[in-house]
Every structure is written in C-alpha cells, then in structure tokens.
C-alpha cells in the first residue's frame, strides 16, 4: 500500500515537471506584466495586453495563416502522393519495383546535413526563395509515409481489388474510393506525423524565407525572441509562445492516442 502511494506521489511530481511550464506559460500570457515574474498561477487581473503587443509588433496573424497553409498543403500532398506510391509498391506489378523500394529505404537513411545546403542552392536557382513553393515542394513526399502506406496496403485482401477490377474500376478509383475509406488508421498516422513536423519545422524556413510576411509561426516567434523586438517584455514572449503552441496542443488533446501511437511507431522504424 505504501509503495503504491509512493508511486502516485512520484507520478504527480512528474505531472508538475512536465505540465507546469505550459500552464505557467498560458497563465503568464494573460497576466499583467508586473505579476508574471512570480510562480503563482493566479492573478488579480486578466489582461490581454501581452497579446495586443504581439499582434502590433509582429505579423503573427499572417504567420499563423502561412503556417496553416504550408502545413495543410504539405500534409495533403504527402498523404495523396505517398498513398499512390505505397499502393503501387504493395499491389501493382511494374518493372523496377524492388529497386524503387530499396531506393526509398535508402533515402530515409541520408542525414539531412548532406542535402541541406544543395537544396537551398536549388531553391535559389529555381527562384523559389521567399515563396510558398520553397516551403511546400521539398517536403511534399517522405520515405516514411510511403513505407507506412505500403505496409498497411499489403494487408488489404487481393480478392477485393480483383472484384473491383472485374467491375471495370480504374486503379485510381480503387485507391481513393475503395482503399482509402479502409485506411483511416494509416492516413491519420501519416497526417499527424507530417503536420506536426511541418508546423514545428524551423531550420528550413529560416534558410529559405527572409521576407517577414512569408515567415512561418515558429520562425517568426524565434526571431521575435532573439531579435529583441519583445523588449524584454516577458508577457509578450509568453503570448507569442502560447499562440505557437496552442494549435498543436488543441489537436493533441483531441487525438492524443493517435499522436502517441504514431510517434512511437515511427520511432521504432526510424
């Protein structure tokens, strides 16, 4: 019994360690500047001044739109194109199938440090720097998504496909109308992993975007922090951080189980 109580105490300490900083961030962003310094989670006054400061100092609404637009486009492309390649690898016959699969596995092992600089050069040559294209196109396919789709589609019974083919359905119809509705788990997994990676990515936007009106959320907030625009106002830093964290935290609170399972499964394979 004592051991059990001790266990719960330890787990609750864990709750404080992992949860408290986020609660402090959200509460702090809503407190008057004077009161943020202390560790208390309660304040006499509710204040939106910090948010007002963020919205007037940096184009954060625009950055929010940019991030949403980029992350949703990337996620859609990765799911659609990834499932097409995954389907071809799992269910179709074509020359070079084995080689292609090995190639995809190989790309997953390349450290990004090698390709980063030449990819930037490519963006410059194509004239894509400071455009949405540079943020979307280079991440529109991932090896991991193809591998996950292929693995899932392999388990779809061949008889189902043959029946549809006899009825004269095209492969396109079979994939998007027949198999997609059966594939919700893998689609959700790929979508979550891709959206999260795209929303949180900051290195690549730092490299290809210099124009403030095209910056993504994490990039703009990072520059806000180091560029001194926050003018040591802790409240506006916390407000900016909250705006950056909130979409993912909200998505996470709805799809918590999916997030954890997706990350764990990709971790094991990665």
């Amino acid at each position: 019994m004592a051991a059990r109580t001790l266990k719960y105490i330890a787990l609750c300490v864990g709750l404080v360690v992992f949860g408290y900083p986020f609660i402090w961030m959200i509460v702090g962003s809503l407190k008057p500047e004077m009161e943020i310094g202390n560790l208390k989670l309660w304040s006499s006054l509710l204040s939106f001044n910090s948010y007002r400061a963020v919205f007037t100092k940096i184009p954060i609404a625009r950055a929010f739109f940019n991030s949403m637009f980029v992350s949703l486009s990337v996620t859609t492309l990765v799911v659609v194109l990834g499932s097409m390649v995954g389907y071809a690898l799992a269910k179709l016959r074509f020359v070079g199938k084995g080689v292609l699969y090995i190639l995809i596995l190989f790309t997953m092992m390349i450290p990004f440090q090698i390709t980063l600089i030449p990819q930037y050069v490519l963006m410059v040559k194509l004239g894509w720097t400071d455009t949405y294209l540079s943020l979307i196109v280079p991440s529109m396919m991932t090896g991991l998504s193809i591998v996950l789709f292929r693995q899932f589609f392999t388990s779809v019974p061949e008889a189902l496909l043959d029946a549809a083919r006899i009825d004269g359905c095209s492969e396109l119809y079979i994939l998007f109308r027949l198999i997609w509705p059966l594939s919700r788990p893998v689609i959700i997994t790929v979508a979550i992993l891709t959206f999260m990676a795209s929303w949180n990515d900051v290195l690549w936007p730092m490299i290809v975007v210099r124009d403030r009106s095209l910056m993504t959320m994490p990039q703009l907030v990072a520059i806000f922090v180091i560029g001194g625009e926050a003018e040591t106002q802790l409240g506006s830093l916390l407000a900016a951080a909250t705006l950056l964290a909130l979409p993912i935290i909200i998505a996470y609170s709805f799809f918590q189980r999916y997030f954890i399972e997706s990350m764990a499964s990709s971790g094991i394979k990665g």
Partner: protein, 295 residues
C-alpha cells in the same frame, strides 16, 4: 539475371497505372534527393559565395576544416551533449516507464502529460526553459536558494551551458522514449518472471537479468534516435545562447548554418555537412555493433 526480352515481357505484363503512380516520386527523388546529393559532392571541392561563379579549390575545404578550431569545438560540444543526454534520457524514460507499467488510475492521463513536450515546437520549449534557467529569478535557482544552496550559472557559464541544453532536450523528448520502453516492457513474456519467481530470484535480479536484457532493442533504438537528434541540434542553442558563451553551445548544425548563411561559404558549409553526416552514420553503426555485441 534478367535479359532484355525478359524485362520487355515483364514490362508488358505490368500495370500501366503503376508508372503513373510512381512518376511523381521519381521526379521528386531526382530533384530533391539525387541532385542535392551529387551537387554537394561537387560543392565540397569549390569555393562559392552563391553570387559569383564557383571556383575549384581541390581539397582546400578539407584542409581548412582540419585546421579549424570551431569545427572541432562544435564536434566536441555535440559529444558533450550526447554524453549527458543519452544516459539521462535512458534513465529517466526507463524509471517513468517502470512506474507506469502497472495497473494504475489515470495511467493514460499521466502518459499524455509526459508526452506533451514532444508535440510542442522546440521554440516554445526553449522560451520556457530560458525563463526557468534565468540566473537571478529563474525557477531552478529560486528553488536552490530557498533550500540554502548556491545559484547555478545554467546558461552563463561555458561549462554549464551545454549540459543545461542537454537537460532541456531530455525534458522535451523523454515522452517518446517512455512510450518505447512501455512497448518494450509489455513485450516481455510474463512466464519469464514466473519462472524466476519459482527459482527464488530476487526482484533486483529479475530486473538485471530479465528486464534489462529484454529491453535491449529499445535501448538501441533510443541511443540511435538520440544520436541523430543530437547531431541535428540547432534551434535550441540558436535561440537560447546563440552558440555562446564562448562557443560552448555551438552545435554542428549551428556552425554549418553560420558558415552558409552568415559568411556565404557554401562550399565549406557543404564540406562540413558531408563530414557531419558521415560522422553520424559511422557513430550510429558503431553504437549498434557495440550494443549488439554487449547483449
């Protein structure tokens, strides 16, 4: 193996749609994987500021690198980070996983909260920890002074800064590894413990001789993933310390970034990128060999 006529026959028997389905990937692969790979091999033999024409300089980038104290500094910094981050990560993740691996109320709630830093942007985490690490008013030093201990110069002292970042990174990532350990723990057959129980093995011995060896694959995964993560360390030092104090948090990725985008040394940055990539790959291979040999 397959003669031209054979390939032709296989081509005729194949599903035409398949080529349409994989074509986008082939274009993508050629443009964003193959071309950059080849181009980086060319870049490393050149001096180039991206504006004026490229200038062939042979192996000078490599010669420069081997005489560059900052290259070695960034490599050592990364190793310092890994030396603290990996053991800490494994210890904390395993401890929490063992706590959670039981019938508990609110088990999934605990797990969900511990996992939260994983999904949130590194920029958010860095902003929060910057406040917690403050010398005068940060949470950590407030706690330390309230129990009569001296303040720790978390981010202001060169010998503390990288360990501080390693602790922060552990807090951010440990959720993934808790889940991986939980999966690993649940895959251990219960009969093993029953048999040990019958033989009268103490629970400490059961842990050492059953639990730990059975978790070996999970440990390999964690070591490899953390190593790759350590070599990609960028935004944390970029925002938190700018690589300072005294270059003590200059990570490999941050150094590549500075060379490429502050100094426009594209050729040298590509050389550093290739070198760091080769180091990551060889470290990961060696780790796997070592851990597998150990088991």
């Amino acid at each position: 193996m397959s003669s031209p006529t054979n390939i032709f026959r296989r081509f005729k028997r194949s599903d035409r749609t398949a080529y349409v389905f994989v074509l986008p990937y082939l274009v993508y692969f050629a443009t964003f994987v193959a071309y950059p790979l080849l181009f980086s091999l060319i870049l490393m033999f050149h001096r180039w500021n991206i504006v004026t024409p490229m200038e062939w300089i042979g192996l000078k980038n490599f010669i420069r690198m081997f005489g560059d104290p900052l290259f070695f500094k960034s490599l050592v910094n990364t190793l310092v980070f890994l030396a603290i981050h990996i053991p800490l990560q494994i210890a904390v993740a395993l401890a929490i996983a063992l706590l959670l691996n039981a019938r508990l109320r609110f088990r999934s709630f605990f797990r969900a909260v511990y996992f939260m830093p994983v999904v949130v942007s590194g920029v958010v985490v860095t902003i929060l920890w910057q406040q917690m690490y403050l010398f005068d008013y940060g949470v950590f030093n407030s706690i330390l002074t309230s129990i009569g201990l001296p303040r720790v110069p978390w981010l202001v002292d060169p010998s503390f800064a990288m360990p501080s970042i390693a602790i922060m990174a552990t807090w951010k990532n440990v959720g993934i590894y808790i889940v991986l350990f939980l999966v690993g723990l649940q895959n251990i057959p219960g009969e093993l413990y029953e048999a040990a129980e019958l033989d009268g093995a103490a629970s400490a011995n059961q842990f050492l001789h059953i639990t730990l060896p059975m978790l070996n694959p999970t440990v390999i995964a964690i070591v490899v993933l953390s190593t790759i993560g350590g070599f990609s360390l960028f935004i944390e030092p970029y925002v938190l310390t700018g690589g300072g104090p005294m270059q003590s948090t200059l990570s490999g990725m941050l150094y590549i970034y500075n060379q490429a985008f502050y100094f426009n040394h594209m050729g040298y940055a590509a050389t550093l990128g290739i070198t760091f990539a080769l180091i990551v790959l060889s470290v990961v291979v060696i780790q796997r060999k070592l851990i597998e040999a150990e088991a």
